[in-house]
């Protein structure tokens, strides 16, 4: 029991880390696409760095907002399920009487 739990925890941790890594890769890709468009020089210039900074900030805010909405939705879904379950329990006892 203990062993399968800790494997489960490891699997979950792995999935979360993988998700995070893939998000970062996507972030780099999005910001590169938006900000880096000229290749006359080898190094990133100030404009490109500034654009990247703003792009990263916006992406983080975007991700956070999505997480907030998901959290809200899951809370409201749970509340709906509880209400439904309570209704069914009431009906069950009402029928018995």
């Amino acid at each position: 029991m203990g062993a399968s739990n800790s494997k489960h925890e490891k699997d979950i941790a792995y999935i979360k880390e993988k998700n995070q890594v893939e998000s970062i890769i996507r972030l780099v890709d999005v910001c590169f696409d938006q900000c880096v468009n000229s290749f006359s020089r080898r190094d990133l210039n100030k404009r490109e760095k500034l654009c990247t900074t703003q792009c990263v900030k916006k992406f983080l805010e975007f991700t956070q907002r999505i997480e907030e909405r998901i959290e809200e939705q899951s809370i409201s879904e749970r509340q709906k399920m509880e209400t439904r379950r309570n209704e069914e329990i009431k009906k069950h006892f009402a029928n018995q009487n």
Binding site: V21, I24, V28, F39, R42, D43, T53, V56
Partner: protein, 90 residues
């Protein structure tokens, strides 16, 4: 126990790195192809395309490093804010 566990962890870390680089490589290829390979008909890379491709790879890697720097500094800011809040509460 330690050396075997360490070997397993090292192998896992290696796998993670390889997956990461593979994914990044594909994305980099897509971007640089999109931005640098402009002519379709000739069978070879033009001079401009070669230079663009070289610089694109360099810039992509620099962007990755820069984004990681930013993420580190943002998370440090969050940690510092949390620490300040915690010490204020005490």
């Amino acid at each position: 126990m330690n050396s075997i566990t360490q070997q397993t962890t090292d192998k896992q870390e290696q796998k993670k790195l390889v997956k990461f680089f593979n994914l990044q490589f594909r994305k980099m290829m897509e971007q640089c192809h999109k931005k640098c390979i402009t002519t379709k008909n000739k069978g070879k890379l033009g001079i401009a395309e070669k230079a663009c491709t070289d610089r694109c790879v360099i810039k992509y890697i620099q962007t990755t490093a820069y984004v990681n720097e930013l993420l580190n500094s943002f998370s440090q800011e969050v940690d510092q804010t949390l620490q300040t809040q915690q010490s204020q509460q005490k």
